[in-house]
């Protein structure tokens, strides 16, 4: 056991943070969201810097990939980092055309990045399917939830074999947790920065005990999510660990969304203030892969062989 970052992990984080400071951030996310666009440049930069190779690297693996996915989410990157850096290297033997979108359940519903994706991985229960997309296979969908959304016109994928469905879900769950941790961290930080300076009743709002306790409780939930996510990654994404990480992250995401907005007041609803960049994304993450109920059920099934759920 060792909870401190190793030298190589520290170097990877510094490298990705330097890249993100230049190419991502709230301002860029807002700009792209206005046009429902994808950040092809950022994705290209991440891939050419080698971050997609962390997952199957000799000295690196899922934990390093998760740290990078989390950092991308914290910097509000408008890229399918979870798919490119974590899920695809874990599930596929070859490199598909990017961006890669992930679909499950009702594939006709809006899906993150589907309008720009060249490849879709679909969770079909026992089996996962891989589908190449051509221009016109998906339509952009206007959305208020922080990511470019698209709707697939049809789904006709190639099966990846029995068992590939569960593999896809495990790594996707881990990715949801990692993205949520980074996104929550930034939503909370944005709120903290505001509440330390914004004054009412002659003092900083963040000095009121009620406000402090609610933010501190968010911190407890985010930290629990963070360490469960890192642990699950290090263990290689076993079902029970990833379901616990995702369940805890989604519980935390709900509370972080509600508290950061409540405590930020009206400014938090505006596009002038950055909170929405992260907060709205949290709600989109909460719906992915069946949402918090599915994570809870998956955890029960993995731990106690409860029920007959896929």
């Amino acid at each position: 056991m060792d909870f401190e970052l190793g030298d190589e992990q520290r170097a990877i984080l510094e490298a990705v943070q330097t890249l993100l400071a230049r190419r991502a951030g709230a301002k860029r996310a807002i700009e792209l969201a206005r046009k429902t666009e994808y950040d092809f440049e950022l994705e290209e930069a991440l891939i050419s810097a080698g971050f997609a190779e962390l997952m199957n690297g000799g000295e690196t693996g899922p934990l390093e990939a998760v740290l990078v996915v989390e950092a991308c989410a914290a910097a509000a990157g408008t890229v399918a980092s979870m798919a490119s850096l974590l899920v695809v290297p874990a599930v596929l033997r070859h490199e598909p055309s990017t961006p890669v979108a992930l679909a499950s359940g009702d594939v006709a519903a809006p899906i993150r990045f589907a309008a720009q994706a060249r490849t879709v991985l679909v969770d079909r229960g026992e089996e996962a399917e891989l589908m190449a997309l051509d221009a016109g296979d998906a339509m952009p969908v206007p959305s208020n939830f922080g990511y470019p959304m698209g709707r697939l016109k049809s789904v006709r994928g190639e099966g990846l074999g029995i068992g590939s469905g569960s593999k896809l879900r495990r790594w996707w769950r881990l990715g949801i947790a990692a993205e949520a941790v980074g996104t929550m961290q930034s939503a909370l930080q944005c709120t903290l920065d505001y509440l330390k300076t914004r004054k009412q009743f002659g003092r900083a709002i963040g000095s009121f005990q009620t406000v402090q306790h609610r933010l501190a409780d968010c911190h407890v939930l985010v930290e629990g999510s963070r360490w469960l996510t890192y642990e699950a990654a290090w263990l290689g994404a076993p079902e029970e660990a990833v379901a616990a990480a995702a369940a805890q992250s989604m519980l935390a995401a709900s509370q972080v969304f509600n508290e950061t907005h409540q405590l930020s007041g009206a400014i938090g609803y505006t596009r002038e203030h950055d909170l929405h960049v992260w907060s709205m994304r949290l709600q989109a993450l909460r719906l992915e892969l069946g949402g918090v109920s599915a994570h809870h059920l998956a955890l029960s099934k993995a731990r106690w062989q409860a029920g007959a759920i896929s």
Partner: protein, 381 residues
């Protein structure tokens, strides 16, 4: 960063579990019905802690110069987890090894170390913690129990409240005000007070959480020899702060909660409830809370293993542990239904144990306040 147990620690856990299963009597479930503070468990703790000591496991994480085994903080958390998961067969002695001993090592005189540490490391002594007072609960620095020098003694007057284990303890880790003119953090001292001195009266406060759980300790002209002073006079607050860092994660409640949850799931299966999606969801939610509390506690253990100074992560772990404890105690009631209403049953026992989590060792509100200022950097009000 890595999250694997060493092969040594895995082997130790297996050996420990085998030992505990052998050492606990068949009547353990009834014997432990009222928690570590009950007379029955206090009495049993001498035998059990003695056996742990014989194997070198009771204070394995202490330095060898004080009779320990120089084991890592990880090794000690394995022991703590397995103990709490079974209702703490060390009884009140978990406090001794977690923080009373280490605090005496840090601040004690040679005489104090020579007297107290062997008693603790052989498992033959019980302590209680004299912190809270009727007018000093969460606001601990409002304490008023006065200890005034008179010759070679302190004369102590005042009272302590909520004192678990006072019914059986031979010593009390007592916080007193040694400077009557002082305010708040200043002028506080720690006395290692023998509980058999004249003028000490212990009264039980009957409580719904269990028999012999809480006591009030009345101190009337108790003459405590000055040799019992721990650390510098009037500077007890820094000693308390040191001790509290150890205490907050000393009792890994999540280990008990996780075991309880497994038992709840088994019970649900037997009653045909495990196919119920709502029950599955509640179980999954509770398991995630429990796992979060575990990994957050490990975060603190890791800092200790690295020899890092204390951080607010111990407060974070405590708040997460309380949330897990409560979720699981309520779920036990739900799954067991009306059977839970009978005193001493599985669900009732767990519910009573979990009830105190948010108040013991500093209330959740105190923990959140410390997180807000120390981890989040929020300004003072």
């Amino acid at each position: 960063m890595e999250f694997g147990w060493s092969e040594e620690d895995r082997r130790y856990r297996r050996e420990l579990i085998a030992f505990v299963e052998e050492a606990l009597p068949e009547t353990w479930s009834e014997l432990s019905a009222d928690g570590p503070g009950s007379d029955a468990q206090a009495e049993f703790s001498y035998e059990f802690a003695g056996k742990l000591a014989e194997r070198g496991w009771l204070t394995q994480h202490w330095p060898s110069e004080y009779g320990g085994g120089d084991a890592t903080a990880w090794r000690h958390i394995v022991l703590s987890e397995e103990m709490w998961a079974r209702g703490e067969p060390r009884g009140p002695q978990y406090m001794n090894v977690n923080w009373i001993g280490p605090t005496i090592m840090q601040y004690g005189t040679e005489e104090q170390k020579a007297h107290h540490l062997p008693l603790i490391s052989s498992g033959q002594v019980l302590w209680c913690q004299g912190f809270s007072e009727p007018e000093a609960g969460s606001d601990l620095v409002a304490l008023r129990t006065l200890a005034l020098r008179d010759g070679d003694d302190y004369v102590v007057n005042g009272s302590k409240i909520w004192t678990s284990y006072a019914n059986n303890a031979q010593y009390c880790f007592l916080l007193v005000r040694t400077d009557p003119e002082s305010q708040r953090h200043r002028g506080i001292s720690v006395l290692l007070m023998p509980m058999d001195l004249p003028g000490i009266e212990v009264r039980e406060i009957p409580a719904v959480v269990g028999d012999r759980y809480f006591h009030e300790v009345f101190l009337t002209d108790v003459r405590v020899p000055i040799g019992c002073l721990l650390g510098p006079e009037h500077e007890g607050w820094s000693i308390v702060s040191y001790a509290l860092q150890y205490e907050r994660v000393g009792a890994p409640r999540y280990a008990r909660a996780a075991k309880t949850l497994d038992e709840i799931a088994e019970h649900a299966r037997e009653r045909g409830l495990l196919d119920d999606l709502r029950i599955q969801e509640r179980l999954g939610e509770a398991r995630a809370l429990c796992e979060a509390a575990r990994v957050l506690t490990y975060r603190v253990v890791d800092q200790r293993a690295h020899g890092l100074p204390p951080t607010p992560d111990s407060n974070v772990a405590r708040v997460a542990g309380t949330r897990a404890d409560r979720a699981i105690a309520e779920l036990a009631l739900q799954v067991h239904g009306a059977d839970a209403l009978e005193y001493g049953g599985f669900a009732d026992k767990n519910f009573r144990m979990a009830m105190t989590a948010g108040v013991a060792v500093g209330t959740t509100e105190i923990q959140l306040g410390l997180i807000a200022s120390r981890a989040l950097g929020l300004p003072k009000g």
